[in-house]
């Protein structure tokens, strides 16, 4: 049997936890309201996170399509060609280098022309140059690589569709920024709404806080149950929105993929677990923060 003086800190935390959960249960209407609010907010935030994550994947896929093509001079010194190939491979900005021989270029052209490929035969000798297709790690380095390659003696000309790349980079940069801004803005709004809901709930019980203080409770003794209550409500809201997100995630991804069939979409398989982690952690943190902030105003008794 524990007596006065033997009460330990874990005892008090446990007591705060118990009475916090008891408050959730006894104040059921307000609890349901709070859980619903945080569930809706977290669901909204979660869906936008999915959308922004898939947008990022799409943008990266688009940018990876940017190639620099270096057409080689006919009869260039094989040693010089080899040199160029090696130096490109060593460059940190280059993802891969593929040599397209004159023969391969001709085959490609034939495939492109299809039934009209007979026309090529009339040209006699293969007129197409050999080339290097240089895939880049980031589309932004295309102009520099192009310039570098252009100065090589084995190279006839360089093509990287400058205008297209510049515009693509402008658009993807804008979309990334917009996505980030949207998520940050939405997170702030969600935080604000959840905290405000808590404030209303706590405001309705400010007299309880006053009573506890008048009976000699310390700030932490009053705050403890409210913190656990906030965390429990935030967590329940997060669980609800997680269930909805998990259920709707695959259909949404499938929908996006079917709308954007021209893009090689490759979704991060860890996106869903990461997302659920963020939502659950966010629910707990926001619940606790909301309670802490709301209770603080009324502790000065």
């Amino acid at each position: 049997m524990s007596t006065r003086g033997h009460t330990t800190r874990p005892d008090i935390v446990l007591h705060a936890c118990k009475s916090g959960l008891q408050q959730v249960n006894r104040n059921r209407l307000m609890s349901i309201f709070s859980v619903a609010t945080s569930a809706v907010m977290l669901l909204m935030l979660g869906s936008f996170l999915v959308m922004v994550a898939s947008l990022n994947v799409t943008l990266r896929a688009l940018e990876q399509k940017v190639n620099v093509v270096a057409y080689l001079k006919d009869g260039a010194d094989p040693a010089a060609v080899q040199n160029l190939h090696d130096s490109l491979l060593k460059d940190a900005r280059v993802a891969s280098v593929t040599l397209i021989t004159k023969q391969q270029a001709l085959v490609r052209m034939q495939q492109t022309l299809g039934s009209q490929s007979k026309l090529l035969a009339q040209l006699g000798d293969n007129p197409l140059p050999a080339s290097f297709e240089i895939a880049l790690k980031s589309a932004g380095s295309a102009p520099q690589i192009a310039q570098l390659v252009q100065s090589d003696p084995a190279v006839e000309s360089v093509d990287y569709q400058q205008g297209v790349v510049d515009r693509l980079l402008a658009i993807t940069g804008f979309l990334r920024l917009a996505g980030l801004g949207l998520v940050v803005g939405l997170a702030i709004i969600a935080l604000f709404i959840i905290i405000n809901t808590t404030r209303i709930a706590v405001y309705g019980r400010r007299q309880e806080i006053e009573i506890m203080k008048l009976v000699g409770a310390t700030d932490w003794f009053v705050r403890g149950p409210f913190l656990f209550e906030g965390m429990a409500l935030g967590f329940m809201g997060a669980v609800v929105s997680c269930c909805l997100l998990a259920a709707s995630y695959r259909p949404i991804i499938a929908k996006i993929a079917s709308l954007l069939t021209f893009l090689p979409l490759d979704f991060d398989p860890l996106l869903l677990p990461k997302l659920l982690g963020v939502v659950l952690g966010g629910g707990l943190a926001v619940g606790a923060a909301g309670s802490y902030i709301s209770v603080r105003r009324f502790l000065d008794v």
């Binding site: 203080k213 008048l214 000699g216 310390t218």
Partner: protein, 228 residues
């Protein structure tokens, strides 16, 4: 038990609630604090429980200089005092048992095996032995005030302050509450009761401290509600 030395209280809005009050209420006394609404009774009580701090002068309760308590010392100071309010101030989402036990929990006594006998003894004392599992909203006003008194007593305070405890009750119920306070006083607790209830004051003939316009206009032992 209670000593005030030249105490004045002016609120930030300029209202002077108390002017130069000095008084000494010894241990085991039963004292009434009377006077019209707005006379300063509530401010007087707020100073005693450190809900407000005096603008001038010093307030001692149980030998402690109340005005000089640091913020973190206030909870410990309040645990030595029991307070009963006109509007009961019970916690609505806690049962009667939990309400009465609350001051013990604040003291760090969290084991129901320890709390229960004390809660039951207090409920027995105030005449509500069978209400422990009910919520305050399920009780009448008089019953709620008894619960509040049980809560005010459970930690054996040296001083019980009652701020118009009969103000919301019918005369008969009010009488029962006052008799309860007399009984508590008989066990050795100092009781200070602010009241408008003339009948009670006239009947009991205890010490009467009359405040009007923020000043003590009368302080009589075995006094009446109005000056003789």
């Amino acid at each position: 038990m209670i000593v005030l030395q030249g105490v004045s209280k002016t609120y930030p809005n300029g209202v002077a609630a108390l002017r130069d009050i000095s008084i000494d209420i010894p241990e085991r006394e039963f004292a009434f604090l009377v006077g019209p609404s707005g006379a300063g009774k509530s401010t007087f009580i707020k100073l005693l429980i450190r809900d407000e701090v005096a603008s001038k002068g010093r307030v001692f309760v149980n030998g402690q200089d109340v005005g000089r308590l640091k913020r973190r010392q206030v909870p410990h100071f309040r645990r030595k005092i029991g307070v009963v309010f006109q509007d009961f101030k019970l916690l609505p989402y806690k049962t009667v048992r939990e309400n009465v036990a609350f001051p013990l929990q604040v003291h760090g006594i969290l084991d129901w095996k320890v709390m229960n006998p004390q809660v039951e003894a207090c409920l027995e004392m105030v005449g509500l032995p069978d209400c422990a599992e009910r919520f305050p909203t399920q009780l009448s006003g008089g019953e709620q005030q008894r619960v509040a008194i049980a809560r005010g007593l459970i930690h054996h305070p040296l001083l019980l302050i009652a701020d118009e405890p009969t103000g919301n009750l019918d005369p008969d119920t009010g009488w029962e509450i006052v008799q309860l306070l007399i009984k508590i006083n008989a066990f050795g607790t100092t009781v200070l009761m602010a009241t408008h209830n003339r009948e009670v004051v006239d009947m009991l003939r205890r010490r009467v401290i009359h405040i009007d316009h923020g000043a003590i206009v009368r302080d009589e032992h075995e006094g009446a509600y109005h000056a003789a």
